[in-house]
């Protein structure tokens, strides 16, 4: 690790200013659980950390019935998965937040950081995509909103321009009779990077699927929203056949590589397995069985 400068921003505008002045070698520091590792291993040339944790609203959780959920981008994971409203309405977020890092990491790491790091295997991103999330971004040219499904552009790359950072994340209020779920496959039971992961949101109208979103991760250069999987479900009864059709759509959408964490065949297969499993889990939640 090289020596780096540290600056603490106390407002969004100040952070934007610091990041703009810092240029390409300035990086946002929230929990630091990814970016400090990058600096330490000299995988990024970093000269300045701009700490955004002390900006009001960057840490906090706000849920309004009918409005939805807003998370400060730097809100640590343990606050997310312990929050009663998140637990009640966004179980997929709870499931993903629970497995990112160990307990100590979860006191620092945030979903905003997980998104900004833009790993293809990020555990939080498929859950956030499935829940229809939006990233609220601030930068030198003002504010803008980007759907989380469109945020990542390549491994470790995303839509953020120099000087931009994520201020908050928001999620619509789930419909009545809906459920969400997220799961990943890892060879161990903890402390591992997903071989494949999947998140779904499912709203039921009686036995018919009223709405659905299916997202998969670690099977392409970015986490993927799979519209074809949703199409295989929406307007149809939720049966083994329609679930299998959604799983098949996920397998088709997957475009994985073979690496040390898994083979392409294994990942494509797991995309189908996990989509089936999370659909069944989300359906049980939508029906109030769980």
């Amino acid at each position: 690790m090289q020596a780096v400068k540290y600056a603490r921003a106390t407002s969004v505008d100040e952070a934007v200013q610091m990041l703009r002045d810092g240029g390409d070698v300035a990086r946002v520091l929230a929990g630091g659980t990814d970016v400090i590792v990058l600096a330490r291993e000299r995988r990024r040339d970093i000269d300045l950390f701009v700490d955004i944790k002390h900006i009001p609203d960057l840490i906090g959780i706000d849920y309004q019935a009918g409005q939805g959920l807003t998370l400060g981008a730097a809100t640590p994971l343990y606050e997310v998965y312990n929050h009663p409203d998140v637990k009640a309405h966004y179980p997929a977020l709870v499931e993903a937040s629970h497995v990112i890092g160990g307990t100590a990491i979860q006191g620092r790491a945030s979903l905003g950081g997980n998104l900004a790091n833009s790993s293809p295997a990020a555990d939080g991103i498929p859950a956030m995509i499935a829940l229809g999330g939006t990233a609220h971004i601030a930068g030198p040219n003002g504010r803008r909103d980007v759907p989380i499904a469109e945020f990542c552009t390549a491994p470790g790359r995303n839509v953020l321009e120099t000087g931009e950072f994520i201020v908050s994340l928001s999620f619509p209020d789930p419909a009545a009779n809906s459920g969400s779920a997220w799961e990943r496959f890892i060879p161990r039971n903890e402390m591992d990077i997903a071989v494949t992961n999947a998140g779904v949101y499912l709203a039921l109208d009686g036995d018919t699927v009223a709405d659905a979103r299916v997202a998969i991760g670690a099977v392409a250069p970015t986490p993927l929203l799979v519209p074809a999987a949703a199409e295989a479900l929406i307007g149809k009864p939720l049966t083994d056949e329609t679930i299998e059709a959604a799983a098949e759509a996920a397998r088709q959408a997957a475009n994985p590589i073979t690496d040390m964490r898994g083979t392409a065949d294994q990942r494509r297969h797991l995309a189908g397995v996990l989509v089936k499993r999370v659909l069944n889990k989300a359906a049980a939640r939508a029906r109030g069985d769980e």
Binding site: P187, M191, D192, Q266, H269
Partner: protein
Amino acid sequence: MVATPEKPNTDKPAYKVVGTRPVRPDGVDKVTGRAEYGADIKLEGMLYGAVLRSPHAHARIKRIDTSKAEALPGVKAVATHADFPKQESGSLDLGEGSANPLWLVENVLAGSKVLYHGHAVAAVAATDLHIAEDALALIEVEYEVLPFVIDVREAMLPNAPILLDDLRTNVRAKGVDTPKDVPTNIALHMRLEKGDIEQGFADADVVIEREYTTAQAHQGYIEPQNGTAFWNRDGQLTIWCSTQGIFSVRSQCATLLGLPESQVRVIPKEIGGGFGGKLTVYLEPIAAVLSKKSHRPVKMWMPRADIIRATGPTSATHNRVKIGVKRDGTITAAEVNLAYAAGAYPGSPVGAGALCALAPYDIANQRIDGFDVVTNTPKTQAYRAPGAPASEHAVEATLDELAEQLDMDPMELRLKNAAHEGGTNSAGQPWPRIGATAVMEAIKNHPHYTSELHGEDTGRGVALGFWFNGGMESSSSATVNSDGTVSLILGSVDIGGSRASLAMQLAETLGLTLDEVHPHIVDTDSVGWTGVTGGSRTTFAGGWVAYDLGEEIKKRVVERAARMWDVETDVVSYADGVITGPPDADNNPRSMTFKEIAKQLQRTGGLIAVSATSRRNTQGAAFAGHIVDLHVDRETGKVEILRYTAIQDVGTAIHPSYVEGQLQGGVAQGVGMALNEEYYYDDEGHVVNASLLDYRMPVANDLPMIDTQLVEVPNPGHPYGVRGVGEAPIVPPAPAIRNAIYDAIGVRMYDMPMSPRRILEELGPQNGSAS
């Protein structure tokens, strides 16, 4: 013919200290963080060292230019291979194995060639680590990249890239011709043979032959390798490090640096795990050279990626086993062929693997061939029962298939062929009292083995494991303090609780409590030569010394009491810490406690301080037997272990909690090797999973509670019946799991690790990945 095994003698005397579970003497320091490890060292004027490593799996070094690094402000010294004296080929004892100084120094800092990705090439000492790391980037190395070979079978082919131009096969196999004088990667072909193998197979009713592979697995100690050195201007070298053997480090450093051993002092710091991986030196000699050049102390430690890439994993292996049996289960013949990858330089544990392969069984006709093969991977080092897990896996897995074909209970098949006292091992040496049968019987009768197994896709497997255990030399001294306490000075570093286990044996001998014996681990200048903490030898050999010290102290105490009472020594006795003599002139009984006489030692002829050295080869072999229940998720290929029982003949358990801990630890590492641990090489021969994130050792919640059952068959060659216990338990987990996977889903696995990916592939399209 197979003799009927006799029931071994499991009687042991009633002890007062041995067999109890006191708090360990080093416990408080370790749990409060006060224990000093290598990373805690801070010396005045200390520099920090860093190592430049090869980006190639195999390359010739054409040129190294360190001038720009040397010119960087803050850099105080740069070291390359050229800074070491030239070595001659030879053999240095490392405790569990040996090293050729010629290759050892090349592994410490590469000479003309780099032989694996991560091979050390140069090193820098600077005023802080960041400067040292910056300086590494300024060192220019010109490489001529060469073709490389990772796989052991490919390395044996005639057209394989050759790693060491001068290497020729050492043939130690009767009936095998020495090959022509051509370069090769096969360093050794050894053979063990007894009986008539052809006749043995001819006598068999069923013969099966199977092939197996095992993957490179790292010891996975949590504490990184480290070494701090100070080379004084008078040529005295002091080294602080984390090692399993201070005297081994001393002899390696003295040899590599061209110093007399008396000029090298090695001070052990606490050790955070070794498992065989901390017997050889890596950083210590480099730190010494950097210190010599800078005249300042130099501290070094390894980043995790370097530990995985450049310190010893165990061998990747490719093994073939052929076994013939009669219908009644009698094994008539066994043929074993072992190819072990040594890594960059010769010295895989194939010899030990060969001796262990068939050890649990009495097989009249057998032939075992072993090949030691160099590959472009890190030089392998000892890892808990070095060589045994791979060879025994192949045998235990094959026996499971034979039991199925014979429609026999797998434990019955093993019991029918169990090794026993009076039989001989694969080298033809007779077995002393051993616990093979006792362990097999204990499995068969264990409630785990006899319980019903429920649930879909669940299975049960069993396997045996064997390890010799080491004897070797240990030294200690002991001083009787005036308050009746005893200081015990040790040359063995404490990895598995040896402060407690050795002090307990001295306390038992003297009839004292453990609180009255204080163990203290010292440096190489402060105690006699002592072998490494490895080979499951420490509690055995150190216990012998503690016993000898105790007996000597007792003898001197009795002599003193006799002199004080003015009687002959033979009428004075010592028992339970009390010295008793004949009644005095008034017929009053005469006795003194150890404490009472200790108080009077100084004015009755002087304090008592004794030293002892022991080298005994009466260590007892260890047999382990494991039972595992598991579930396989057919959709993902993931194995979940539901229940695990480890049974072992442990001789006498000095401190049963630590013995149980050794069994559990062995199982944890064995499960890791079985299920997920492997080195992942990319197309360029790079190790890409060099982190604890991607080198998938089991974490706590990957393991169930591991139940243990200690079978105590005291070793007749030890005063307290101690056998080594630490290594045997890493052997059975992989074959037990493999056999259980078959029981669960009907799939026989031949390649390790038995990862979810491999199990999915074996399950095939109907369940697996091609859907």
